[in-house]
Amino acid sequence: MSGCYTYDGTLAGLLTLYARLLPEQITVERISAFPLEQHSLFNSEICIATDQAVAEAFWQRLTKRLSTNSLKLLRRCLLAEHPQQELLIYHYLLLEAEQGRRIDGMLAHPAVAPVWKLSQQVAREAHRYLGFVRFQQLQGGLYYATIAPDHRILLLIGAHFAERFSDQQWVIHDQRHGEGILYDAEKQEWLLLPMEVTAQPDVTPEEVQFQELWRSYFTTLAIPERRNLKLQQGKVPLKVRACLTEFGG
């Protein structure tokens, strides 16, 4: 058994797949989620059916086996949007099965370096979004923010905002991935939910005022003699500006 595998695109599905393939040390060329993309005509794809119980048992074992560091690495990679992340993680886990915790130090190994790099990308984006979230105060008191990150970073930033804004009702909505975090200030709990936009948010008059204050403050801060748009664009890429108040978002 070797070749191309598919799963249903859920985390449980992917974990089931790993649970089935890893013990056999199967050589894998490709792992893809439904719906199938036609990459190769001659490779028939093997579909692994999701089994919740298998997935949970596998995750339990994994959390016990792996070091805190590896686990962190893995969690970030699972949240990544990368064409080959499933395969990268598979190769990492294969090596882990062989090497155990020694894998933590094998930073230059071809199966480890790409996973580390991907995890780094996810972590960097998550950190940047600690700053790039912009809440708008809506009628009724809810603070609402939209973001459009490359990776699914909501789970990585939720705790930060829950602590910081523990006394306000807020929502951070990831429009690219169609999910969002809802924070309940009374219960002090946050929840990741599938989310869609239905209407233009209805902001308070105070909100309009603060946005104006912020924009004019932001413009004033720049020192014209030091103007450096290239540097600015490196720090605030155009793709994130649509959601930033100070860039007209």
Binding site: R102, L221, L231, Q232
Partner: protein
């Protein structure tokens, strides 16, 4: 009312923006009292302005009225600009409004000096107290100390703020005398000394009991204006080294002086001030994180940093006898001195080589900048530079910039008309 607030915010932000301190790091304050906010020890940047500088804190002056007349400062008494002020309550309200929307990480509060140093310092403290007590604000606060303020007030300031600072502005006593005749060196260094010893005492006390409130948990910083007076890089870097070692400063900021104000006390427009500033920051990092000392980077023979090479590469080129270094055997301290290897990558090399010898190909995967590093290292005895270390072409290969492009970033944007010709680019507000 709103437009009035907008105007004042503009004027007071304009007066504060030349203070380059931006960081919101070094303090981790939990939101434990059911209030609002927290401080992340890594610091968080929220946006970047069109000059590429990050915005982390709401940086404003309480007022731009000032009794002093410092030549480099936009808020100096003799400058004909509109004078406005915010009340402590307004400062607090603005901060919270911005903070709740996640625009900022906290507040950076500075001011011109009104009436007396003590009176001004009390105003600042009042604003910060309102935030901490009334709003139960746990975000980051950077508070400026007013030179000459009463030591008791300085002590209070440190208890409310995460970081305090007083700007040295000019590297030597003589320069200060020339450009800021109202301030004495002692009135600036005095509070710095006091803060430094209060931090040391506080640290010791907190070892005894965790209940002792923190004093300036993010330490203190200062700012030096570079290029307004004739000091060499060597004088500046040596001064910074002393500030780090003797007064335990967290940061020294450098601000390139770009004179747009005519004052006979100021020099003619210097060359490439932003590049010089950049090199000073690089040297500063070498002092703080790479184990270099000032005299290794600069000496009497070469009192200024090379504008074409980063200071570490410059140092390495002067000490070719130490290279190439075998990556599998070199100590952490030695690795740190290789151009192209930073703190993170040195740590990763140490970690990775425990699992087996590293080859040249492994190094790229570890995040080492091989473009520079390859001339100075060997891996398993193999040397990866295309020319040896003796090569006369080495220097030109290492000169900054991809493919020898002309430096664009660091030249002055002269085509940009300066709106207010009396505006000095660097203020020394406190």
């Amino acid at each position: 009312m709103a437009t009035d607030l907008m105007d004042r915010l503009k004027i007071l932000a304009d007066g504060a923006k030349y203070d380059v301190s931006c960081s919101s790091s070094g303090s981790s304050r939990a939101n434990s009292n059911g209030g609002i906010g927290s401080a992340a020890s890594s610091g968080i940047c929220h946006t970047w302005t069109s000059d590429g500088r990050c915005v982390s804190l709401l940086k404003i002056l309480m007022t731009n009225r000032c009794i002093y007349d410092c030549a480099y400062c936009v808020n100096r008494r003799s400058n004909d600009i509109q004078r406005v002020a915010l009340s402590p309550a307004e400062v607090a309200e603005l901060t919270i409004g911005f903070y709740r929307r996640n625009y900022i990480e906290g507040l950076f509060l500075s001011t011109g000096v009104v009436r007396s140093a003590d009176y001004t310092m009390e105003l600042l403290i009042q604003a910060v107290r309102t935030l901490r007590e009334q709003y139960r604000f746990n975000g980051y606060i950077h508070l400026k100390l007013v030179p000459g303020a009463d030591p008791l007030l300085v002590q209070q300031a440190g208890l409310w703020a995460d970081r305090v600072s007083v700007n040295l502005e000019l590297p030597t006593r003589e320069s200060l005398q020339l450009l800021a005749p109202d301030k004495t060196r002692d009135s600036v260094v005095g509070p710095m000394r006091q803060v430094s010893s209060l931090i040391t005492v506080n640290r010791a006390e907190r070892k005894q009991s965790r209940k002792v409130p923190r004093f300036a948990p993010a330490g203190q910083s200062t700012q030096l204006i570079v290029g307004a007076t004739g000091e060499s890089d060597r004088q500046i870097v040596t001064l910074s080294e002393q500030l780090y070692q003797r007064l335990d400063l967290k940061r020294v900021y450098y601000s390139a002086f770009i004179p747009t104000v005519t004052d006979i006390r100021l020099p003619a427009r210097p060359e490439a001030p932003l590049r010089r500033e950049h090199r000073l920051y690089q040297a500063d990092w070498l002092l703080r994180y790479y184990g270099f000392s000032a005299h290794e980077l600069l000496d009497e023979g070469s009192p200024n940093l090379d504008s074409e090479l980063d200071p570490k590469t410059g140092w390495a080129l002067r000490h070719l006898e130490l290279f190439p270094l075998e990556i599998n055997r070199a100590s952490y301290e030695e690795l740190l001195r290789v151009p192209g290897i930073g703190v993170r990558s040195a740590q990763r090399i140490i970690q990775a080589r425990r699992q087996g010898h590293l080859g040249i190909d492994d190094l790229g995967r570890l995040g080492i900048v091989m473009k520079r590093a390859r001339y100075f290292i060997t891996a398993r005895g193999r040397y990866a530079g295309e020319n040896g270390l003796e090569s006369s072409a080495l220097r030109s290969r290492l000169v900054d910039g991809p493919k020898q492009k002309r430096p664009v970033q660091l030249s002055l944007g002269l085509e940009q008309p300066v709106g207010d010709e009396t505006a000095s680019l660097i203020t020394g507000e406190l």
